[in-house]
């Protein structure tokens, strides 16, 4: 044992002086080396949410009335009732820092981790999505990072047999030294199959199943995820976990069989903080104690120390709580699937988490002190000194295209710009067909999957964010991300139900960043209340910065909606020539933070488009009703790049052109990024009924023109052949990344 505070290496493990002092108070003595390591990972920012907790409470406090939440925030993922006795669970999580150090494995294990979170709820994972952000597309490091991350997301998800149904890829200089890799997983179960991460029942056995424990990912949550990058980052590579999707696949099938046969009473995945987290959380939530014999944990390397064993983040492992009489059956199922399973301990009535190593107790702590009673900080925050100047620097003075030729040139330039160009180079590397339930995937606005074979019920999912908007106004930016995801789900014909989020920010120790975070969470909580969609869970990723420079504040928001009948889903591309094209919603002169200002002038300043949440709700109601009555053949939301980009995308999906006539300033009509708008198409016979619905919901409508031909025509301004648009739109990513 060590003597004297300074002799324990708590600072190197990421603990502050007062945190260390608190551990000593809790224990009434100095912690053992193993205990200290456990506190350091469990009290890390990543695991404890110590800087974000006070803000995240708003998601609960302001939550709208809802009866669809079967499991709310606080578990591994929220569970939403979607009808017919079916429930879905979904969550997005970051794996930003590991993906910079080791792009392939970082991204792969990001997918693996979120999939296990979903499995832990008792659900069969049925789809994944990914939201990715990188530096400029022509940055020297982009090819390594984008190529590695995309291959990692695909390599893991494809091998796991999960369709990738959507997401986003964004390029901005602020992410060059700190890419964002956010992965979402969706799972489905019957109501009665929900599992909880609880260790209950004294004498029940603790079974570790899945991969052996090795030296990978030691201290990943504290060393990597909870500190800022500096020049030594490459030496942190051993902190990155290494994934084996084949093992995860058999672990999934094995666990689903265990759930089906009722053989486990509680289950928890091993992710960040490994065994430290899984044992302390299950014991704490079960109100029990636990005795674990670390000597029984199967190791890849026999020379591992207890500290390494209990903090290893080796992938593809689960912790199951099993009645003694069921142990043989559990081991039998595991053997059948070729999954290693070992009884490593049992549930006790001590309310202590005790860990034995070579016959000696090396850990004896109250489990809640690790899992639930970590430090909470109300960190100082202040509106950044440059925020007013940034907002005053609007886009109003930027030169705008005037002639038809200039408008056409602008449209082309945007369609081929890194953030608006076709994502096919990325999405072709993802399996979107496996499991046979994919109804819509990229390039449609949301991913839509049928949940089970014997029902037409399905869900739609979209994942969106806009760091530039959030930089200009984090409160509005978070709401705009929410509104876009909500709109994307709505255009597919689905009814938005619930929200998940991944909040990517710089260092919480910087008051400017903390202000961004506080504003964004407040905006998102208010927005969810106003749109009537509760937050079911999510993830916070801090310390996304290189040196003193933080990334753009990037709240990424996932919205889930339900379709009672997936046959009524509405695609985002034109489906036939001769349809009437209409714009729903109102367009304002809103260009601050727009893709146009960024691409053509490199400008970021002013205030983002106004979030119009009541209008979003009305628009959503129109889209759902129109879909239910089979009135619209296509619906595509307007967001980055405005109406011009929306029409380009809708045309290129099917190769059907479009001719429109624009009222007012054609530049504003084509490129403004006003929120709460969508383009829909319908047959002549359905126009009157559609207009009735639109009027009933008090939504503005503009008749733009018709689909058809092989060009994008704006009457009196320009005609661009689809071939030209396609070449421009589809060549950008391959040119830079292949």
């Amino acid at each position: 044992m060590n003597d004297g505070m300074s002799e324990q290496p708590y600072a190197e493990l990421g603990l502050k002086d007062d945190e260390y002092a608190r551990i000593c108070t809790i224990l009434g003595r100095k912690p053992s080396d193993t205990e200290l390591a456990m506190y350091s990972v469990m009290w890390s920012e990543h695991c404890s949410y110590k800087s974000s907790k006070v803000h995240l409470r708003q998601f609960g406090d302001k939550a709208p009335e809802t009866d669809v939440l079967l499991v709310g925030m606080g578990e591994n993922a929220g569970v939403v009732d979607v009808g017919d006795g079916l429930a879905v669970t979904f969550k997005v999580e970051s794996h930003n820092h590991p993906s910079y150090v080791e792009p392939y494995q970082g991204a792969a294990t990001g997918v693996g981790g979120i999939v296990r979170d979903i499995l832990t709820m008792g659900a069969r994972p049925i789809a994944v999505m990914d939201s990715l952000r990188f530096g400029e597309i022509d940055h020297p490091d982009s090819r390594r990072l984008v190529g590695g991350v995309v291959a990692g997301v695909g390599g893991y998800g494809n091998c796991l047999g999960l369709p990738n149904i959507g997401g986003e890829v964004v390029f901005d200089p602020s992410y060059a030294g700190n890419p964002l890799v956010n992965a979402l997983c969706l799972g489905v179960m019957r109501h009665e199959q929900i599992q909880l991460a609880r260790a209950e029942g004294v004498g029940n056995k603790v079974v570790l199943l899945g991969a052996k424990t090795g030296r990978d990912g030691i201290g990943g949550v504290s060393v990597l995820a909870s500190a800022t990058f500096d020049e030594e980052s490459p030496s942190k590579r051993p902190s990155v976990q290494v994934g084996d999707p084949f093992t995860e696949k058999v672990v999934i099938e094995c666990c689903l069989e265990l759930f089906e046969r009722g053989l486990v009473t509680g289950i928890q995945d091993l992710g960040g903080a490994g065994l430290s987290c899984a044992t302390s959380e299950t014991a704490s939530h079960g109100g029990s104690g636990m005795l674990v014999d670390l000597d029984l944990v199967p190791l890849r390397e026999p020379s591992m120390t207890p500290v390494e064993v209990i903090t290893s983040e080796s992938q593809e492992r689960m912790l199951a709580i099993v009645r003694p009489g069921d142990v043989d059956d559990v081991l039998g199922v595991c053997t059948r699937w070729g999954v290693l399973a070992t009884v490593i301990g049992e549930v006790t009535d001590t309310r202590r988490l005790q860990v034995r190593w070579h016959g000696e107790i090396v850990v004896d702590v109250p489990p809640a002190s690790l899992a639930d009673e970590g430090p909470v900080y109300d960190r100082p925050f202040a509106r950044p000194a440059d925020q007013d100047a940034l907002q005053a620097d609007t886009s109003a003075a930027l030169a705008r295209p005037k002639t038809g030729a200039e408008l056409a040139e602008t449209l082309l330039r945007l369609a081929g710009s890194p953030n608006l160009a076709s994502r096919k180079w990325v999405t072709e590397q993802y399996d979107r067909y496996v499991l046979g339930g994919t109804v819509l995937a990229m390039p449609h606005d949301s991913g839509v999957v049928r949940l089970v074979d014997d029902s037409d019920r399905g869900v739609a999912l979209s994942l969106d964010g806009n760091g530039r908007y959030a930089r200009l106004d984090p409160y509005a930016g978070a709401q705009l991300a929410l509104a876009e995801a909500y709109r994307n789900v709505s255009v597919s014909g689905a009814r938005p139900l619930a929200v998940t989020n991944c909040l990517n920010f710089g260092s919480p120790e910087d008051p400017d960043v903390m202000w961004q975070f506080a504003e964004a969470t407040r905006g998102l909580a208010d927005g969810c209340r106003d749109l009537g969609v509760p937050v079911t869970g999510g993830n916070v990723s801090f310390y996304n910065q290189t040196g003193a420079t933080a990334i753009l504040p990037t709240p990424v928001v996932g919205v889930l909606g339900v379709l009672d009948d997936v046959n009524l889903r509405v695609p985002s591309g034109f489906v036939r020539a001769g349809d009437v094209v209409m714009l729903l919603g109102e367009t304002y002169d809103e260009f601050d933070g727009s893709e146009w200002a960024w691409v053509t002038h490199g400008h970021l300043g002013g205030r983002p488009p106004l979030p119009r949440l009541p209008a979003e709700r009305q628009l959503s109601n129109v889209l759902q009703t129109a879909a239910d009555e089979r009135l619209i053949s296509c619906a595509h939301d307007l967001s980055d790049g405005g109406l011009g980009q929306t029409l380009v995308e809708a045309a290129l999906v099917s190769g059907i052109g479009v001719s429109v006539t624009l009222d007012g300033d054609p530049f504003v009509a084509l490129f403004s990024e006003s929120a709460a708008r969508a383009v829909v198409t319908c047959a002549d016979a359905d126009v009157d009924r559609l207009l009735e619905i639109v009027a009933d919901h008090d939504v503005a409508v503009t008749r733009l023109g018709r689909t058809g031909g092989d060009a994008f025509v704006v009457t009196g301004e320009f005609a661009l052949p689809l071939d030209t648009l396609r070449e421009t739109h589809e060549s950008t990513l391959p040119r830079h990344l292949s």
Binding site: K249, V250, Y433, V434, D453
Partner: protein
Amino acid sequence: MTARIGVITFPGSLDDRDALRAARLAGAEPVSLWHGDHDLRGVDAVVLPGGFSYGDYLRAGAIASFAPIMAEVVAAAGAGLPVLGICNGFQVLCEAGLLPGALIRNAGLHFVCRDQRLRVESADTAWTSEYAAGAEIVVPVKNGEGRYVADESTLDQLEATGRVAFRYVGGNPNGALRDIAGIRNEAGNVVGLMPHPEHAIDPLTGPSADGLGMFVSVLKSFAAA
């Protein structure tokens, strides 16, 4: 009596449930088969599904070709049982020696998932009789190791004996030699292809329903027998 189509699940199989669904939709009774059994449960035809059996460690399909059930598949195929290998299943059939050649890493080195046009080159197998020879169909292709290769004399022999079953049209997604997407054995009961007919059984969830024809073909071959 309803014909029974068996689908083998290896550890790491992914499209097994999809193949079972396609068999059911075609009108067959789907039967799950387990890699570790020496038992085909009396099925009338067998599908080896897509996926990454045993993680595709060593070589794609290499370990699965030694699974206990493969001894039964090889014997039954020799006796005329219809066998279809899709993607990883095709790789397993090649590794097991039921079909010649091999599947290696895609020419572009990336995994590729796209809706692929195929030409049906051989319409007189147990799995392709529903199609007209020369018909074009659209079926998803999705793989990282789908590039069909064999030595020149094997390729010439396949061509000369009409044993190329499917060819890529409108772009070769993986650099397969002579655009070969799928091949058959001489008797026509064993067919292997990289694209996924089980993902093209319903326009709601696939690019077409063109793939269903393979499962219907095998059902009709029983009716005719």
